[in-house]
């Protein structure tokens, strides 16, 4: 029977792993991810989840143990944050290169030094090029739904790639809100038993991931690229099917809010979208036709959607909870790249905000929108990348 529970996004992620009937969990604790792995451990100890829980000695081993388990034929789950994710970096490449459909919750946290336990996207966006599908959630319900959707997507034979489901530390991870958990039988119906492209099998011995000469390597890379393109096509389908069964849909790759007639499009990720919607409404009362695009999937990047949305807009403005030092935020760079080839592209400006957990309120976003609108009306962007609310 479907039920509504009130809990934190971290616990909800654990409920999702349980609902997906994962068989092996390998995890290592790190703030603010810890309550996910604690809750999963509780499920396993209470026999609510029939799984092996490997308390590994590092995140690197967590990811490698998931690789081993997925290769040996079972559904796996893990979760981490920031430095834990960075420690996994090498293994992330190995997971995607091995085409194993591992799903991981990433509780976004800023990278040190200096130490910070507060959220931004610098941890997961630094893993942009590892061949992992990346989802970014805006609320607790989406965390649950996306984890289930991610298994469905990753285990599709046209994809067979791993995915991270990202949620911002504390803003979501430790915040209670009501979440609808569908009936288990209906989830089982949506998500069939584990499937992968290959398996370690004593009856069909093969060497996996052995050395490859330049004669073959590029083809393996191209297959990952194709799988990403397939994922781009499939994510909206999976989202739609999930929606038709469980009544919640997220717009596939991007969530759009009041975009149809918008002159100024704000582009954001994660929870910032909630405040951005308030800002859009308020700006509209001030006479500015604003709209919001929330990038739900950063890999594969929704280039076509952005291009289409940009056709009617006069200006695109990204708000990045991330900075690639010496350049700009990745959201800015990729959004801009998406519209570059367009005939007569809209104006573009980017803003860096909310690093290390600094609050981005609707007032902050309104300030960004007003400044951008001024440039839009003048037909000229005065500053391509601005840092918001910096101390003097």
């Amino acid at each position: 029977m479907a039920q509504t529970i009130i809990d934190t996004a971290n616990h909800i992620a654990a409920y999702a792993a349980k609902a997906a009937k994962v068989k092996v969990i390998a995890a290592y604790p790190i703030t603010p991810q810890t309550t996910i792995v604690e809750k999963v451990a509780e499920f396993v100890e209470n026999d609510e989840l029939d799984a092996e829980y490997i308390c590994v000695e590092s995140e690197h081993s967590a990811m490698v143990a998931c690789i081993g388990a997925a290769a040996a034929g079972v559904r796996t789950f893990t979760a981490t944050s920031a430095h834990g994710l960075a420690l996994m970096h090498e293994a992330l490449h190995w997971a995607s290169g091995s085409r194993l459909p591992i799903v991981m919750a990433v509780v976004n946290r800023a990278m040190g030094a200096p130490w910070s336990i507060w959220p931004d996207f610098s941890d997961s966006l630094s893993q942009r090029d590892t061949g992992w599908i990346q989802f970014y959630c805006a609320d607790n319900q989406e965390v649950f739904d996306t984890i289930i959707q991610a298994y469905k997507l990753c285990e599709d034979e046209k994809v067979f790639l791993p995915a991270m489901v990202c949620l911002e530390g504390f803003i979501l991870s430790h915040t209670y809100s009501p979440v609808k958990i569908p009936d288990q039988r209906e989830i089982d119906d949506f998500l069939p038993p584990y499937k992968s492209g290959w398996i370690l099998d004593v009856n069909h011995p093969l060497s996996h991931a052995n050395a490859v000469s330049p004669e073959y390597y590029m083809e393996f890379r191209y297959m990952i690229q194709e799988a990403m393109e397939n994922a781009k096509r499939l994510i909206p389908q999976v989202d739609k099917e999930y929606g038709s069964r469980f009544g919640v849909e997220y717009g596939g790759l991007v969530e759009k809010y009041k975009c149809e007639d918008a002159d100024l499009l704000l582009v954001t990720m994660g929870t910032m979208a909630g405040d951005a919607k308030i800002a859009v409404d308020n700006m509209r009362t001030e006479g500015l036709k604003a709209g919001l695009v929330r990038i739900r999937v950063f890999r594969p990047f929704p280039t076509e959607e952005i291009r289409k949305l940009a056709e009617h807009a006069r200006m695109l403005v990204t708000i990045d909870r991330h900075i690639s030092f010496g350049a700009e935020g990745f959201l800015a760079a990729e959004t801009k790249a998406s519209i570059f080839s367009q005939k007569d592209p809209p104006l573009f400006a980017s803003f860096v905000a909310g690093l290390g957990g600094r609050d981005v309120t609707f007032e902050t976003i309104e300030k960004i929108a007003r400044k951008s609108a001024k440039w839009m009306h003048a037909g000229k962007v005065e500053k391509e990348t601005s840092w918001v609310d910096l101390r003097g």
Binding site: V56, I67, S207
Partner: protein, 297 residues
């Protein structure tokens, strides 16, 4: 106890593998398959066996083999063991097969973690006392005085004692071996297969490329390592230490061959001074006093 003649004829390390001529690790790998059969999953981190198995689309290994990151053999094995248990496949043995660098240096954390978690698998360190695959650089398992490309004047520190580090994890089975004593190696592997929990076997595998000796001398070099007492054959079964033949006769110092016999065969020890040899001899005698203590319980 099995004798060489009784070893099965099946080969799971196939002809045409890519090891150097005289490669000690490939002899040990061939014996491993003969001892354990083909109901095993082999986990291989970056090491000489990455090369030995051959390049895609070929392989010289006829059992399922998971190549994995350098420091991660034990972590990958942990995942595989857990998955097999969930799938009810209790008759498949998971074997980590790593070099000395992948074991005593970069892989020690994952291995220590897996042992502490009592992971049900066999972990084998095939020890050629250097990073062989990358062109003979010093590892934590390189012995004192040995030339490597990163210790051009000879290593100034002693070899890390990995078997005793593993024994300190209170795992049910720790053994040392050398392919120059094939029945000892095979019997230890077979014994390990019947035990549950983490089993660790450290095999000294001479390497003509890194040790600078004629490739025809691999068996002889390994034999001398044991006969001089520089490499002792022993096992620690549920905490009980026992020296195995021929090492069990070497508690008597007079029965040990002179260490110079071993050093003289190998170019890597060419730079040893008289003082170096005396120092090594002193440490060796100390080691054997320790074995005496361990053997007497």
């Amino acid at each position: 106890m099995v004798t060489v003649k009784e070893l099965p004829g099946e080969e799971y390390l196939l002809k045409g593998h890519a090891a150097c001529a005289g490669c000690g690790p490939s002899i040990a790998l061939r014996l491993l398959f003969k001892a354990l059969g083909n109901k095993i999953i082999l986990v291989v981190p970056a090491s000489c066996t990455t090369v030995i198995q051959g390049q895609y689309p070929y392989t010289s290994v006829a059992v399922p083999l998971q190549n994995i990151l350098f420091e991660s053999a034990a972590a990958a094995a942990s995942g595989i063991v857990a998955a097999l248990r969930k799938r009810g496949m209790h008759d498949v043995t998971v074997v980590g097969w790593a070099g000395d660098g992948g074991t005593v240096d970069i892989g020690i954390q994952a291995l220590s973690g897996a042992a502490e978690r009592e992971t049900n698998f066999i972990y084998i360190c095939y020890d050629n006392e250097a990073y062989g695959n990358t062109g003979v650089q010093r590892s934590g398992a390189t012995p004192y005085g040995a030339w490597t490309t990163t210790t051009p004047l000879g290593k100034r520190e002693r070899k890390k004692n990995m078997p005793l580090i593993m024994a300190a994890h209170k795992i049910p089975y720790v053994a040392t071996a050398c392919p120059s004593f094939p029945t000892d190696l095979v019997n230890k592997l077979r014994k390990a297969k019947e035990i549950r929990g983490t089993r660790y076997i450290h095999i000294l595998t001479p390497c003509p490329t890194g040790w600078r000796y004629d490739p025809s001398k691999t068996v002889e070099v390994g034999r001398l390592a044991v006969q001089t007492g520089l490499w002792a054959l022993y096992e620690i079964e549920y905490g009980k230490f026992r020296l195995n033949p021929p090492s069990d006769r070497l508690l008597d110092k007079a029965k040990r061959k002179p260490v110079e016999d071993y050093f003289m065969l190998q170019g890597r020890f060419r730079g040893l001074t008289k003082e170096d040899v005396e120092r090594i001899q002193y440490w060796l005698d100390e080691d054997w006093e320790r074995y005496r203590d361990l053997a007497s319980g």
